[in-house]
């Protein structure tokens, strides 16, 4: 079992042994890059078809089922279509920036994917400040949205880009604040250490993942909402709202550039889902002791696929938010709740010193009560604000 768990690590070492000593670092880097691109390009293809099939089933349709068995060769057909399409650049577009925008998305996202621990000893790049690196490169994807929207010389593109940037900046705050709790408890910015801190089992069978603590559950909840917004997915897909602004900042993109954008967005979703798995769902740890024989990377990708399924499920369920609802939700609900969660995490951390029997239950109840009260209270505020009659400043 150990050998199966480490099969990719030993495989890489075995392959590298064929290279001369001097080339081994370069070979190692290239192998890792090839692995990331290969795995996530495949996952992207599988996700597109699964998304269409699941959305179809949610709407009582079949979904694509013509190309290949059950339609599973649809991504290949889509890919061929994308690559053979004409690459149209608007005449008035800023051609250089229009060209660079998809690259400015795909490069940071690929970098973000490279710091996630995919399994035991399987981290492409191990940084002391891996989490910070992730957010640093994640923040620079906003630039690509701006570049795409501005360079297209299309008002829908520009409106989409502005919406995208406003949304990404707003939701980055709760996103980062919800991860601060994990950093506080683990005491490290290293993603590997965060995963290691979640190994082991409570009472011998309960996984000690962060999501099974009050602050961790709230943090996971906040993180997933903010992650949905960061990856521009429904119900936060205002930047690409088809019914309002055509395709937002993607309006003037076609062919291969559009495919790159599309892939970049999905990769961004994978990256942020992988980060939530790492931070809250125990990374590559098995959920039960008797399931530990299954290799670690399989656990990681199982959790990743489950989160992606949740994203798709959510997309099939909820309608799009309005811009003011989006903003008030981020600033009036998520942000105060994230700040409360930090306080709760601090209480949780310092009440570790309590050692009397039943202390764990008491801590649990106390922390959960604080969060529940603030959730209900803040939620009521949001609900009241939504029920109030909307005043249209210019439309009436």
């Amino acid at each position: 079992m150990q050998s199966l768990d480490q099969i990719f690590v030993t495989g890489k070492q075995w392959l590298l042994a064929f290279l001369p000593e001097a080339l081994q670092p370069v070979g190692s880097i290239l192998l890792v890059i090839a692995a990331i691109f290969g795995v996530f390009a495949t996952l992207f293809a599988v996700t597109t078809i699964l998304e269409r099939k699941i959305l179809g089933r949610i709407q009582n349709r079949f979904g694509p089922n013509r190309v290949g068995p059950f339609g599973f060769f649809q991504p290949a057909a889509d890919g061929i279509k994308m690559l053979t399409k004409e690459d149209i650049v608007p005449r008035d577009a800023d051609k250089i920036i229009h060209f660079l925008a998809p690259l400015a998305l795909i490069i940071p996202v690929a970098l973000a994917l490279s710091v996630l621990p995919y399994g035991r000893n399987m981290v492409p790049v191990e940084f002391d400040a891996g989490l910070l690196f992730f957010f640093a490169v994640g923040a620079s994807t906003e630039l690509s949205v701006f570049m795409a929207g501005w360079s297209s010389r299309n008002k829908y593109s520009l409106v989409g880009a502005m919406r995208g940037i406003a949304q990404m900046i707003s939701y980055e705050v709760p996103l980062v604040l919800s991860t601060v709790t994990v950093i506080m408890i683990v005491g490290s910015l290293s993603l590997v250490k965060i995963v290691e801190a979640q190994s082991g089992f409570l009472f011998g069978f309960l996984p000690s993942w962060h999501v099974f603590t009050p602050w961790g559950f709230a943090g996971f909840f906040l993180f997933m909402i903010a992650a949905t917004a960061e990856s521009n997915r429904s119900p936060f897909d205002l930047p690409e709202a088809e019914s309002e602004i055509i395709a937002g900042y993607l309006t003037e993109y076609s062919g291969f550039k559009y495919a790159l954008f599309f892939m970049g967005e999905y990769w961004g979703m994978f990256a942020i889902s992988g980060l939530s798995v790492t931070l809250f769902l125990g990374g590559w740890n098995a959920p039960f002791p008797f399931l530990q024989f299954i290799p670690s990377y399989i656990w990681f990708f199982t959790k990743l696929v489950l989160i992606i399924f949740t994203f798709i499920w959510l997309r099939g369920t909820v309608p799009r938010l309005r811009l003011d609802q989006l903003m008030s939700f981020a600033w009036k609900f998520l942000l105060p709740l994230a700040l409360t969660n930090i306080v709760v995490a601090a209480i949780w951390f310092f009440s570790r010193a309590l050692q009397f029997p039943g202390a764990l239950g008491l801590r649990w109840i106390f922390c959960a009560a604080i969060l529940a009260v603030s959730y209900v209270w803040l939620g009521r505020g949001v609900a009241q604000a939504q029920r109030a009659k909307r005043v249209y400043q210019y439309a009436e």
């Binding site: 699941i54 089933r57 949610i58 709407q59 009582n60 349709r61 079949f62 499920w313 959510l314 099939g316 369920t317 909820v318 609900f333 959730y375 209900v376 803040l378 939620g379 009521r380 949001v382 609900a383």
Partner: protein, 204 residues
């Protein structure tokens, strides 16, 4: 409480998702080339020309009056009137279309040609698998392609067709009766004055 609506919605979509797998009744999709929906009587795609009997040239109801050509909003009908005449269903001599073309790439299936036709000669078809690799030539339908027997019309729109047949039959009967009456009158006229001159001739 905030979020209960989303949970309700997620439960609903999950029920759809699972239900669509074990309950085929939920799926509304028809797997088109293999399965087909039965045609609806009021369905319509593009116009066709009705002819009676077996010979489409002889039985064509169209008399090339060109009303449909003038009324057609997208101007997709092209008619050339014939030089000679042929008898129509009542036996009256009428012009007929030397050419009758419909450009179905322009036609918008509005059925105005059918409404305005005084001769029940143009009706709406239900064929829809008309895709072709030649968007200019093969989407311009000519008279031989457009002309379809009355039985086909009966098959598509039975109610309408029966009504039309009844009316036309009535007209034909009236026309025949009229013709017979006229013939009788003519015969009577012919017969009546004839004896008169006959008689004098006889008398004389």
């Amino acid at each position: 409480m905030l979020g209960t609506g989303i949970i309700k919605g997620m439960v609903e979509t999950a029920r759809n998702f699972v239900g669509s797998y074990h309950d085929p009744e939920r799926l509304t999709t028809v797997q088109y080339p293999e399965e087909r929906l039965a045609p609806k009587e009021n369905g319509r795609s593009f116009p066709f020309l009705v002819f009676d009997g077996n010979d489409q040239q002889a039985g064509l109801r169209c008399v090339a009056c060109q009303i449909c050509e003038k009324e057609c909003p997208p101007q997709c009908i092209y008619i050339n009137k014939s030089k000679d005449k042929k008898p129509d269903y009542v036996g009256k001599l009428q012009f007929y279309p030397a050419t009758f073309d419909i450009d179905i790439s322009v036609c918008m299936s509005c059925q105005i040609c059918v409404e305005v036709c005084p001769f029940e000669a143009i009706k709406m078809d239900q064929v829809f698998e008309l895709s072709t690799s030649d968007r200019f030539g093969k989407l311009l339908l000519h008279k031989p392609q457009l002309a379809k027997p009355n039985e086909y019309f009966h098959q598509l729109h039975p109610t309408d067709a029966n009504e039309v047949d009844a009316r036309l039959g009535e007209e034909k009967r009236k026309a025949e009766a009229k013709a017979a009456a006229a013939a009788a009158a003519a015969a009577a006229k012919l017969a009546a004055p004839k004896p008169a001159p006959d008689e004098p001739t006889k008398a004389t």
